[in-house]
């Protein structure tokens, strides 16, 4: 079970990242809950300065750019294998 958080205040890339997460999760049958974090104070608490940010199980994986689908799949799969 993965807990995925997408950090961003609603810019185009943040919305796209959330969509991409839903796609990857459903296509690979990953059990996950996807949350959106839009409050700046909460976003900042993860220590990032560029959006969108991607947090999986409390760990910042990436920030600042929209990853490609294959990269995102790779990240989520490797996080899953850690469990």
């Amino acid at each position: 079970m993965l807990n995925i958080k997408v950090l961003g205040s609603g810019c185009a890339n943040c919305i796209n990242l959330e969509k991409l997460c839903h796609e990857v999760v459903s296509e690979n049958g990953i059990e996950a809950e996807i949350e959106k974090v839009t409050d700046y104070k909460d976003i900042m608490s993860y220590g990032i300065m560029t959006t969108p940010g991607l947090v999986v199980n409390g760990m910042v994986i990436h920030s600042g750019k929209l990853p490609t689908k294959s990269t995102l799949t790779h990240w989520l799969m490797s996080e899953l294998s850690k469990q």
Partner: protein, 346 residues
């Protein structure tokens, strides 16, 4: 076996840009001849009619600017892979005014940054102790001096204008940030900003390989060229229309040197206009050709690119209205001074 194939693929990624480079230069240097050949010999248009000169302008400028853009964005993409907002913040933390403003303005050019990250960046800077005025220098320089603007200025006006734009843009960012710092306007920052506690992020110290930097360059080309090519084509099309059909010296009466009010008017007109550098510069070039003066045109361009309304509205989340007005006012005055200065020199 498998790793061998992927190794070759990596090598190929480095090789392709290197091989394409001379082809691009050759094309760039011969573009005028190729355009002549295409317009006069192949299509057989009559020279010196407004339509022909507009078409010639379009057919020549579009590939030229796109070629330049690809090369410069690629190089800038590689340079930017050496910088990050986190690193910039570390460098600027606790810096004194002035020296900090100079550094922040220059880092504003090379740090990868998109306007949608303006707020988290602002919060991150302030939280880690970067002075307000220094933060502003960064926020002014970053959008104003961007690679797309520089490419277009270089391609359409020549290197002198590009350099002039860059140095005056830097100067405005340095001085505006310094003035904002001196005025001690911290009380006009929304109070919640100072309550933000940024989490500690372990910055990954892993070395980026050169192949990955090349990849960063390629990514930048795909991202930026994809985003701006349409503006460039439309901008050059409008510019081509002006080039062919607007009579010589048409602009001189209201955007020329003799009209003293033209510089502030250009800035007033430019600020609410939302366009990126890609769309505005080809139009500006055509205006200049028809008798508008460089200072006025430069002021207009800086108003459009450097002080955009949507970005200012985003900043309202962290700044009280008063500080927004002061910020816009100071930058606008800086741009107007630059405009007059250039009208005086040229």
């Amino acid at each position: 076996m498998n790793s061998n194939v992927s190794l070759n693929k990596e090598k190929l990624k480095v090789l392709i840009p290197i091989l394409l480079f001379p082809v691009g230069i050759l094309l760039y240097l011969n573009l005028e001849k190729i355009t002549d050949l295409l317009i006069y010999s192949l299509i057989g248009l009559t020279p010196k009619t407004p339509l022909t000169s507009a078409i010639w302008f379009f057919v020549f400028e579009v590939p030229k600017v796109l070629l330049l853009l690809t090369v410069i964005v690629f190089v800038v993409g590689i340079i930017r892979s050496y910088f990050s907002p986190e690193r910039t913040r570390k460098i600027l933390g606790g810096k004194k005014l002035f020296a900090g403003n100079i550094l922040a303005s220059m880092l504003g050019i090379v740090t990868p940054f998109c306007s949608c990250s303006a707020i988290p960046l602002f919060l991150g800077f302030i939280e880690s102790g970067v002075p307000l005025g220094v933060t502003f220098s960064f926020l002014i320089a970053a959008p104003m001096i961007n690679e797309v603007a520089l490419v277009l200025l270089f391609g359409l006006f020549g290197w002198k204008t590009a350099l002039l734009y860059m140095s005056t843009g830097l100067l405005i960012a340095i001085i505006s940030g310094y003035v904002i710092g001196k005025l001690k306007l911290e009380r006009y920052v929304e109070s919640w900003v100072y309550e933000v506690k940024a989490g500690h992020l372990e910055s990954d110290k892993e070395k980026i390989s050169f192949t990955n930097r090349i990849n960063a360059g390629i990514d930048a080309v795909i991202e930026i060229v994809n985003k701006v090519w349409i503006y460039i084509v439309v901008g050059i099309a409008v510019g081509a229309g002006i080039h062919g059909y607007v009579p010589e010296n048409f602009m001189a009466s209201f955007m020329g040197k003799s009209a003293w009010w033209s510089v502030p008017a250009a800035v007033l007109l430019g600020v609410p206009m939302y366009s990126n550098a890609a769309g505005i510069i080809p139009i500006v070039q055509a205006l200049l050709e028809k008798g508008a003066s460089l200072g006025t045109v430069l002021a207009f361009m800086m108003g459009v690119i450097g002080l955009s309304l949507p970005e200012t509205i985003i900043l309202r989340k962290v700044l009280k209205l008063r500080l927004i007005f002061i910020f816009v006012g100071i930058v606008a005055v800086g741009i107007i001074i630059v405009g007059y200065l250039f009208n005086l020199i040229y």
